[in-house]
Every structure is written in C-alpha cells, then in structure tokens.
Amino acid sequence: MIEAELSRSVARWCEGATGVTGAAKLSGGASQETWRFDIVHPDEPIGAILRRSPKGYGAAPTRAAGLGAEAQLMQLAYEAGVPSPRVMHVLTPDDDLGTGFIMQRVEGETIARKILRDDEFAAARPRLARQIGGVLAKLHGLPRDKLPELRSRSATEEISEFERDYRSLDWPKPVFELALRWLRDHDPGPSAETTLVHGDFRNGNLIIGADGLRAVLDWELAHLGDPMEDLGWVCVNSWRFGEIDKPVGGFGSRQELFAGYEAAGRKVDPSRVKFWEVMGTLRWGIMCGGMMQRFREGPDHSMERAMIGRRASETEIDLLRLLAPRGS
C-alpha cells in the first residue's frame, strides 16, 4: 500500500507530519503515475500530489523532459510568479517510492467543458485569454542559465519528426500531406530568441478557479525553442470545445492573448503563431493516429482509444479551415 511509503516519506521532510490519508491514483500509465493524498498535520491537513515513475520504470519517453526536470521547472516557475504548484519534496531512494516529486495540491477545475460553461467561472472567462498571455510571457522569461538540461528543437526539426511519426503509421491522408507541405513552405526558420517552451500549455493542463488561472501543470513536454510555439498550441481548435470563435482555449481572442503577452514586456510574431497553430493541429491529428495504432496493436484494446483514433478527421477539417478556407 502506497500510504505506508508516503507516511514514512513525509515524516522525514514535513515537520509535524504524522502520516497521510486518502491516497488515490488520479491517472497514469505504466511509466508515470499521479496520486493525490492528504498529509496529516497538527495545524491542518495539507493537500498534496505525487508524480512518479514507479520503481523499475526509469526511462521516460523520448520527448519527455523527465520528472527531475519537471520538478525543477515547476519550482522555478513558482518562484518567478507563474501560477504553479509548490514543489515540496523531490523523491530520493530512501523514500522507496520510485523517482518523481511531491507538490502541494492546488484546488480548482481542469475540465474544459465545465470551465467554458459553468456559472462559477463566468467572471474568470473574459479575463483568461489576456491572463494566459501574461503568464506565458513570464514563463518564456525564465532565466536560461537556471533551467535544467532540456531538448532543443527548431521548427525544421519538429516538422521532420512529425513527418516521421506520420509515415510510420502508414495511414495516407491527403489533408495531412497538404499540411506537411504547407509547414515546409512556411517554415519560419530559427526564432530570434530561444526560450523555455512549456510544450503542452492548453485546456486540461491549466487549473482554473473563479478568480482565474491558478496553476500550470504537466511540464512533461517542456523544451527549448520558439516561444511562439506555446501561443500557437493554446489556439489549436481541439482545445476550444465548441467555442470556435474564441481561439484561445475557448476563452477569448488572439488580440487579448497578444496584448497580455506584450503588456508583460515580450513581443508577439503573429505569423509564427499561425505556423505553430497549423503545426499543433497536425500534431494532435498524428497523435490520434498513434492512439489508433496502439489500439490495434495492443495491449490497451480500449474503446476510448479506438474512438480517439476517429478524432483525426476533426483535425483534418480544422487544417482545411486554416489552409484552404472556403469563401466566407
């Protein structure tokens, strides 16, 4: 039972802690798990989250930054005022919990459909696009010399990688071919500035409360690259959940996002943002294909995975809307 290991762990580094309760697995595949639990403390219980690779699962997927880097980035972000959970403890072999870290739990909502529809978030919604711009500007401004070691990818390398992923699926899709050609033809080249890129900044990875953005999660795909990538990814239609006229996560306009970014002292390049939006749309489409392939080849023969395979056509219509819009 994980609570025994967690209790021994918290007793060592959390002063006054006497144990843990309510450990529950939130998500996870074989190599990465997320658990929630409460630390029992004389003052008041402390809500916590464990992110870990269980014992025996050391290797992260090739694109992942690794849990050590994730913890370091979240800590840096927290200190710089990016809404982010406070990292409480990085696991050591003594914890007997595998590799990973424990952070403070931030209360709020991550389910996009609720954030976009429920009354509770009505006051936050109109402010979110601009707020997200400001947060991204801070995130991109984190000092390079303090960052952990991260992979670095140019737009050109990224196109090649997606093309390789797509070809390996053996899943001929004329619309994806058209998008790949468009990306090659519009490759903006190296960006003027290389910064930290979150890599998966979108609905689902943002904790939202009635007061707005409370935390940025899942730093797993963080890397060094073109900061405009994060601005393009948050605009991909797949994260708007029906609010297609509000490109920024279904919350607001690109103008608001850009204004928030520039008010925090950084510059936007709208044509690069568009490039990364097209790239992001194709990226999600190819990921849907990957789900289909894993469904076919097992071991996860789930209906959910099968149906995600069928969502690739959503990205095809979105790519056509971006690249070959019909007369409006």
Partner: protein
Amino acid sequence: MQDEPTPIELTKSVADFLRNDIAPLIYGHQAFKLRVAINILDLVTRQLTREEGSDAAEVERLRALLGMDGSVTDLNRTLAERIAKGEVDLATPGLAEHLWQTTMDKLAVDQPNYASYKRELSRSG
C-alpha cells in the same frame, strides 16, 4: 445476398436498447464507458448508412483528379504521394473542393456535432 434485418437496423437496435434500457441503471466509470460504447454503435450505424454513397463519389472525384482508376484506398494513397512530391497542390483545379467534400463526408460519420463541421455545413447549406 444476406438476409434481413440489415446491419444498420441491427446495430441501431442494440444502441437504442443500451441507451434507453441500460444506461439509466449504470453509474460512475461504467456509465462513462457505456456512453463511449453507444457512441461507437451510433458511429458504425452512420458509417453503414453513408459509406457506400460517399466512397463512390470520392472515387469518382479521385479518378478525375488523378486520371487513373483503383480502389478508394489505392487512389487516396496515390493522391497523398502526389501531394508529398509537390505534383498536386491547392492550385490544382478541383483539389480543394475534393478535400473539402471528402472531409465533410468523414465528419458526417465521425463527429457530426463537431463545431467546425456544423459551421461549414451551415455555410454550404
């Protein structure tokens, strides 16, 4: 020739049974999975209803675009290769219209509630 009722009628009867009689009895994660299962049956029913007609029209367009004959799979493979080589692009007469029609036919089966699809449908209708 196979006997009746047709596959369309059969899958629809199973989906309706699960939706009307079983779904109200199930809660929690199993209810979520049941919804996914019903969605799959609905998708299959839509595909069985529409596939023949939309594939036939797609093959017609592909023949005209590519100047060759073949199955819908082979013709799509050839079109993908020609776009990859740069022999065909959005300036090629008929390509954009073909991709739009094909994609609309796919969404009508996969995700008729997808907002982009509904927007484009109202544009053409």
